[in-house]
């Protein structure tokens, strides 16, 4: 059963159509990525999904309940982690958590226990009673996420949670999201980092200019655009001779010789690499380096939109 279903979401700000007919669904335990550059419409889309922003049209249901800006009870199923850090600087982490816990109606008896659990998960147990204005940027980010987790929602929406985070904190955030997926939480994750989408997401939607350009698993997306693997061979000796020798291998889509290197396009590079190296040896051409580039979401994005994911 799908935890989230949304369809036909549209939002315009004056003349600018920020989100144009966005729709998708997420199943329990599934992590779904919205991958797109700045201004693609990611935040606007999830704001409508979380019932924060009024949509011009379209519908959202979470756990079978329709979500609009006027929904109250249904929003209990949603955890929302805003892109910009949203905590009270003059309150401690514990007080921030307690306030939102009360708003979400977590029973008093459970709340203190749950706050301790969340503080442990986000690694702030020792600093829980300090005012958050004394926290580092990474600590604030972790609390920002912790507030979204507090009430154990069935759908967790994370809006670019790793922006401005050091590599170590980033890794622990990503591990946390993977763990959530394993425990059955549906996760909606927006990012403009291709690697994060590839690592975390079961399915990814590529969004640009307010529209979803393509959607599917990483493999499906790559196949969709018919991208091939690239093998780059650094050669000592005649690159042309090697290229001519490789022409006999029919599985290779194209072979291009340049000064000191040979670039080969192929479907499934790893399977053919031993044969390529064997032919090089037979042709008496020395190989100084091998690089295999598999197509990724970055190249899918480039193919679909004609521009790079990051400027």
């Amino acid at each position: 059963m799908n935890v989230l279903e949304c369809e036909g979401l549209v939002k315009a700000f004056d003349d600018l159509v920020a989100v144009d007919d966005v729709g998708f669904h997420i199943a329990a335990g599934e992590t779904y990525g919205l991958l797109g550059p700045n201004g693609a419409g990611k935040t606007t889309s999830i704001s409508m999904i979380a019932g924060i922003l009024e949509s011009d049209s379209g519908s959202v249901t979470v756990g079978g309940t329709e979500i609009t800006t006027r929904t109250t009870e249904g929003k209990r199923q949603i955890g929302y982690v805003p892109q910009d850090i949203a905590i009270y600087p003059d309150l401690s982490a514990r007080e921030n958590l307690r306030f939102f816990g009360k708003l979400y109606g977590i029973p008093k008896a459970r709340l203190d226990e749950r706050i301790d659990e969340v503080l442990a998960v986000i690694g702030l147990t020792d600093r829980g009673d300090d005012r958050t204005e004394e926290y580092s940027g990474g600590m604030r980010r972790r609390l920002n996420i912790g507030i979204g987790l507090l009430h154990e929602p069935m759908l967790l929406i994370l809006d670019e949670p790793t922006v401005g985070v050091d590599p170590q904190s980033r890794n622990s955030i990503l591990e946390g999201v993977e763990e959530l997926g394993r425990t059955g939480t549906a996760v909606l994750y927006t990012t403009h980092y291709m690697e994060e989408a590839e690592r975390l997401c079961d399915r990814v939607a590529i969004i640009d200019g307010g529209k979803i350009r393509a959607e599917g698993t990483r493999r499906e997306l790559v196949e969709l655009v018919g991208q091939l693997d690239t093998i780059n061979l650094g050669v000592v000796g005649s690159a042309r001779r090697l290229a001519e020798a490789l022409a006999s291998v029919t599985e290779l889509e194209s072979v291009i010789a340049t000064e000191g290197s040979v670039e080969i396009l192929v479907e499934g590079a790893s399977g053919l690499l031993p044969r390529v190296l064997e032919i090089a040896q037979q042709s008496d051409v020395g190989v100084s380096g091998v690089e295999v580039i598999e197509p990724n979401l970055e190249s899918v994005f480039l193919h679909l939109t004609g521009k790079a994911l990051r400027d």
Binding site: I52, R76, F99
Partner: protein
């Protein structure tokens, strides 16, 4: 409802940590009330007093006052004196405040007194010029006391058998209440200086205190927490309700603490607690409404804070929180009624006159009208905008 209280509770704990609310809500008004009441012992010292009379009597006693007493008062520049022939014209001028207090000597006054039947002089005072009226009262009483003394000595002379043409005057002395004052409309309706400054500073700073509560909504946007509130399983009204509740509690607490503190520390007399409570509650609501309008029409939190301060100061000045309106030009007195401050102080003044609780009804209704109108404006102006993420 529950969510509104959760939000209000959070806001209040933030305000308590942020000292500026306590500073503006308690320390500043208390300090200023204390200073003002110490350096300005009484506000009557330099006031103009304008008196008038209508002499329908034309007898010895009335003309003794009019030509014997009043010219001296005028010569000493204690008051200006205006004669009227027509009672109606004179009454109109008292009502408008052109004249502060009017003596009316009715037809047959002197004859009545001399015949031993008693008589009365009417003293009509303008509501907002109680001090002038009290002065007028004192002048007349002094004169009438002298007549009394004259009467007694004549009486003594008569008993010794002497024939005196003033024997008739002596009759006045025989009736102990030969002359009574009636119709002093302006029962003291003004607060004493200490209470005035205590109440004035309390209502002046109320607007700053309330501003903290109202502006905390802008702060939620600034901290980025507004989207979280919008995403929470609570109604949007409870967000506004929470802000209104914390503003109300802040405002009312500062008023109550100030009333108690000025009563205990500098001897202010706020009057009937129930009446004071009604005035305070309506005043706090009016302040919330006005500050909400300013917040809603502002584009940024800084802009809101600046305009809220300007509005609070202007309304405070116009509303007579720094100086009593009773002696201000009539135009200012009129415009001051466009501020909740003036209604609040008027209500307290009337209450202090001991007229009973009913005197606070009109001022309270006036302030509640401010509340209703400004909240309506804020809701209309802020619709679809205030609670956008």
């Amino acid at each position: 409802m529950r969510a509104a209280f959760v939000i209000a509770g959070k806001d209040l704990s933030q305000r308590i940590r942020d000292r500026s609310a306590i500073l503006l809500g308690l320390v500043a008004p208390l300090g200023l009330a204390f200073i003002f009441s110490a350096i300005i012992p009484d506000t009557t010292a330099s006031f103009d007093v304008s008196l008038a009379y209508v002499d329908q009597d034309g007898g010895e006693i009335s003309s003794g006052f009019i030509s014997g007493v009043l010219p001296d008062i005028e010569a000493d520049e204690l008051a200006t004196v205006e004669p009227y022939t027509d009672l109606d014209t004179a009454m109109v001028d008292v009502e408008s405040g052109t004249t502060h207090a009017l003596y009316v000597f009715p037809d047959g006054f002197t004859d009545g007194v001399l015949a031993g039947d008693g008589g009365s002089v009417r003293l009509v005072g303008n509501v907002d010029h109680s001090i002038s009226t009290q002065i007028a009262d004192a002048i007349l009483s002094g004169y009438l006391a002298e007549i009394d003394a004259v009467g007694i000595s004549v009486d003594a002379a008569m008993r010794s058998g002497a024939q005196d043409p003033t024997a008739l005057v002596a009759a006045a002395a025989q009736s102990p209440d030969a002359v009574v004052l009636v119709d002093t409309e302006a029962a003291s309706r003004e607060l004493d200086a200490t209470t005035f400054f205590s109440a004035g500073m309390a209502v002046f700073f109320l607007f700053f205190t309330v501003q903290f509560g109202v502006s905390s909504l802008l702060e939620e946007r600034f901290y980025g927490t507004l989207p979280r509130l919008l995403g929470a399983p609570i109604s949007r009204w409870s967000i506004l309700g929470g802000k209104a509740t914390s503003s109300f509690i802040l405002g009312l607490t500062s008023m109550v603490v100030l009333a108690v503190a000025t009563t205990l520390l500098i001897g202010a007399e706020w009057g009937n607690p129930a009446g004071v409570a009604i005035l305070m509650i309506s005043g706090v609501l009016a302040a919330i409404g006005i500050m909400a309008v300013v917040a809603v029409v502002s584009k940024t939190p800084e802009q809101a804070a600046n305009w809220q301060s300007i509005v609070a100061v202007l309304l405070g000045l116009l509303g007579g929180t720094f100086f009593p309106l009773s002696q201000a030009p009539p135009a200012l007195a009129f415009f001051s009624k466009l501020t909740p401050h003036a209604w609040f102080l008027q209500g307290l003044g009337d209450l202090s006159a001991g007229d009973g609780l009913s005197v606070v009804v009109i001022p309270a209704l006036a302030m509640l009208t401010f509340f209703v109108v400004t909240v309506a404006i804020a809701v209309l102006a802020g619709r679809g905008r205030v609670l956008a993420p």
